[in-house]
Subunit: 228 residues, 2 copies
Amino acid sequence: MLAFDVFGTVVDWRSGVIAELTAIARERNLAVDAAAVADAWRKRYQPFLDRVCRGQAPWQVLDKLHRAGLDEVVREFALDQLSEAGLDRLVLAWHHLPPWPDAVRGLTRLRTRFVLATLSNGGMALLVDLARSADLPFDCILSTELVRSYKPDPRTYQLVTSLLAVRPDQAMLVAAHPYDLAAAAEQGMRTAFVRRPQEWGTGKAEAPDFSVDIMAGDFIDLATQLGA
Amino acid sequence: MLAFDVFGTVVDWRSGVIAELTAIARERNLAVDAAAVADAWRKRYQPFLDRVCRGQAPWQVLDKLHRAGLDEVVREFALDQLSEAGLDRLVLAWHHLPPWPDAVRGLTRLRTRFVLATLSNGGMALLVDLARSADLPFDCILSTELVRSYKPDPRTYQLVTSLLAVRPDQAMLVAAHPYDLAAAAEQGMRTAFVRRPQEWGTGKAEAPDFSVDIMAGDFIDLATQLGA
């Protein structure tokens, strides 16, 4: 079976956030560097999660952490003209992000041969919304919410093998982020790295400096390499 | 959103079990009253689950309880000629039961308007197999395994509202069994009773003796009543 990281691997969070913020700014006649805000917001993500994993902050569903990070970004960029409704819309933008162009076609091919699950820090409700809005053909939505933690906590990867009743070597994590793949490999899972050079709009993807089972250019390439 | 009981409500466990047992018996030239065995096996289900809910037995994934019940039925019907492999096949038959004839069409209509989740005593792996084999268009697989209990434990219904981030009155349980609907209503959920008169092959369905929000003849009727 294949477990997929979602933000950055399946969907393009940056374009989605930029589009929503641009729309809000246009409606209110605000001048905002939407790309800079999106990047600053996302950069607050991992430190927030790490504090939860280290037990220094209580677990909260991702929407709440997104909102806390956004409140900081609003101060940093002096965006106080964004109303409460605007901030809520931005947090909700993560529920309907656009998939990468190859995602639906690749997943559809992969699903003919493998069980497909998400394994994401997004909450269950967020992931269900996302799968519906982008028409992502997952067999099963799994969120780290089910263990009230975040990746790379080992328990989040164990969730996949325990709930889907497979041995770790029968499960492969598909992700665009080396730290995620390294943590999955430590739990005995197989690993597929997918390059997403436009995740940060830079054209450059951080490649793993350790051995992975598969290196793929996108989900079509992954499907081909896996014989699907 | 709509949460669905699965065995008996979405899929026809009795025909599925009878078909598998009949196939095994034919291959081994055994004379077996497959319908009687299927009914006897299913009747052991609720008492097993109740012991777990009352804390008198440890929680186990449903496949294990199915196997324990089957071992008793094998003794009762003197079916010792069924090999280990045959017993494993029968337990696995629950992973690919046939849907009721209206199920896929009804769910497909309902999904245009509502988020659809399972809420079943079947384990996650079983439900994923079932949804794949019967092509059931659920947005989300939820199993009582996620709280290591069984219906009608209140925590199993709370799972739906907490993970899908809805108030209880925004969630409706769809089930063919009054006890299940009564327990959901106690948690504040809405309720839809669907008649499945062939669940036990008798032509008779046990109707609720309390008020439910919707009484439906099948999933097509349910979709029509819900405007989907």
